[in-house]
Subunit: 414 residues, 2 copies
């Protein structure tokens, strides 16, 4: 049996980051709505002021604020109404002292005016006359030209994931097309003589290939372009050929399975044979996920993930997404949400090992309770019941009922 | 000016829920990987046991646990090795007392065995002889047939959003195709004489149509099939025609804009004219988002959202997604993440009104700080800077520095 040398999780992360720093996939330009969830490939800089002109934020009358000085219910100030601004039209009138112009919410302020008085704060004895019963300050009820976004302001930083509200900001500033990082091409190879595709009926001794699908779903959600390469039987030649193909056509390769010692051995052998530097670590002090392999074949990172679905998904979340974050040039470490919850029972853990435990989350009076889902390692149904993954750091030998714990969300929660 | 009657946010939610209870869109069957992010249309029930056979979780020897009784380093028990199990093959041997069979991780347990002893706990003096130096319990290092999932177990409940880990569970149980709710068809109509498409250059007095894009992005992310109907100018006839078309082809309609009084008036008029029950509320005690309109034209819910992008997105998050949750038959109220953070400054709010304030989140020692982003209502750049939206409930007249607040995440955060 191969007693590989385990390295700490933190060291594994450092190896990955060191080998992928600066290894960013090329950009492409996409239509604004297609940029949702993608990573900005450059700083996106406003080319103009927003709003482009000073706008009213209320329905009322544009005027000179100085002319309202001292106005009150008992001593209103008098204006002559000299016209009105229409929505979507330039304001062509130029106001003189003592003049006012009717303006709708969103209307363009006419030259000479510096504020808007709300309709409710005025009286109109006739169509040409306005009484202001309140004082307005300069700029009141107005968004000035450039007050929202100044030309030259950075709207989105290189490396940011584009969320719906960014789409709004980009639309406002006229970016119909956006430079984003291309989707990282990921190939997933499943290995194992016991595996059959989910479309097939397993015979005695066989099980379905879970990881091709679970990993493809995770990585598609993360913005990758995933190619499942199917199942490769436990044969070094077949495996070597499949891995060579995957490396030639992908920017990151995942080998899943190979729970057997033999499979692990030829995974290592094939990575080393296909190109330098080859295998960089083999075995991490985490649970689940200990027999993880990582290497680089030339510029292409290759992960060998454990066959157990729970372990494979844990390592994918912890390490594969870290590698992908580098390839996408992401500013934040990952696109995932962590929250702090209160543990509901004692949990034991080996010191020196990072443990990841599936938990259910329950919300009580604004705080979350994390209920560990315990069971034999690798049971798949635990996945379906869990809302997140709790982390017991390597420097703890366990956690106690009531302790705060960090939970990585693996599904939307309320 | 139309001083509409404002109703509390809670009442608005009740009106929406009452009018949409049971109004679920039809199901469709999709390929497993395409089910990601969709809503399960029925309970998905395991049709078989998982694993289908008892499997070893280690590399070792299958044997009868009773035969190891009393085994220790100093008094090992003796077994004859009568064969080996191959990965992916049925275990054809039937074990007799005192016999052992070599088995790999994931291998099928042969009849007659009830446990596996790890390789490290054995000695093999020769190819036919095994010494067990430890006792094993019945079931040790074995996942029994059906221990993970029993035939008949509910894998996924009707109304659940399908996350990557569910894809794993469904793959394991052989669901290559999954019944999900169809994507809800949403039409978005933008109104306002001042609007131009983002592809166009705004003239003086004009601004770009932000909401068509921002709302489309939000609702696409939520699993809808969004049709932007473009910009309808402020003309009742054009608007009536566009709304009629939208209602005929969609399951939910959003009208965005109409910040002007006139636009609000004809939105109400057109909803009432196109079918009963028509407008159900007009005006909510929230900030931003007060001038929101909701009605039903026959079976189709119609929202009139404010023109300010920040207000439109707030109401979309609070109310449109609630309506969509009903149409999708979702079990959870929404697919969003809320967390509790600590406020970093005092925030004033009018009692009786629900306030939603954009915040930046900063993580410090495992807890989040919520930093309110203050500025004139409706400034779009606030959106780009914010990580989430903080809620000041209607029963509070403000919140203090250090108070815990609920934050709805609007982008992924670390």
């Amino acid at each position: 049996m191969d007693f590989f040398q385990c390295i700490p999780l933190q060291s594994a992360k450092e190896v990955i980051t060191q080998n992928l720093t600066g290894a960013v996939v090329p950009p492409e330009t996409v239509f604004l709505l297609d940029a949702l969830g993608r990573v900005a490939a450059e700083d996106i800089v406003a080319q103009e002021n927003l709003p482009p002109f000073s706008r009213s934020t209320v329905d009322g009358f544009a005027l000179r604020s100085a002319d309202t000085f001292g106005s009150s219910e008992s001593a209103p100030s008098l204006f002559s109404i000299v016209g009105e601004v229409s929505m979507g039209e330039p304001a062509t009138i130029e106001l003189l002292p003592g003049q006012a112009v009717a303006i709708p919410t969103g209307g363009m302020l006419p030259a000479g005016s510096d504020a808007v008085i709300m309709l409710e704060q005025t009286i109109q004895p006739d169509a040409q006359t306005l009484l202001a019963v309140k004082m307005v300050a300069p700029g009141e009820n107005v968004v000035s030209a450039g007050e929202d976004v100044r030309s030259g302001a950075v709207l989105l930083k290189e490396g940011q994931r584009i969320a719906p509200q960014h789409i709004g900001v980009l639309a406002a500033c006229g970016f119909a097309r956006v430079p984003v990082r291309k989707r990282v091409k990921v190939s997933v190879i499943s290995t194992g003589d016991e595996l059959v595709d989910i479309q097939d009926i397993p015979m005695a001794g066989q099980i379905r290939d879970v990881n091709s699908y679970a990993l493809a779903a995770m990585l598609t959600e993360f913005g990758c372009d995933v190619t499942p390469m199917g199942i490769v039987k436990d044969s070094y030649e077949q495996f070597f050929t499949a891995l060579g193909q995957a490396v030639a056509t992908s920017q990151l390769v995942i080998i899943s399975g190979g729970s057997s010692v033999g499979a692990r051995d030829y995974t290592v052998k094939a990575i080393d044979a296909l190109g330098a530097p080859g295998v960089l670590f083999h075995g991490i002090s985490i649970k689940p996920g200990k027999p993880t392999i990582f290497g680089m074949i030339g510029q292409v990172p290759v992960f060998g993930l454990p066959g157990h679905p729970v372990a494979a998904m844990t390592v994918c979340e912890q390490l594969v997404k870290l590698a992908l974050g580098n390839l996408f040039g992401q500013r934040e470490a990952s696109g995932t949400v962590r929250l702090t919850a209160q543990l509901t029972r004692n949990v034991a853990s080996a010191p020196g090992r990072d443990d990841f435990i599936n938990v259910r989350l329950r919300r009580q009076q604004g705080t979350y309770k994390a209920i560990p889902i315990l069971g034999k390692s690798g049971l798949i149904h635990l996945l379906a019941q869990s809302d997140g993954i709790m982390h017991v750091p390597a420097d703890k030998s366990g956690l106690y009922d009531g302790d705060p714990v960090e939970v990585l969300l693996i599904k939307d929660t309320e």
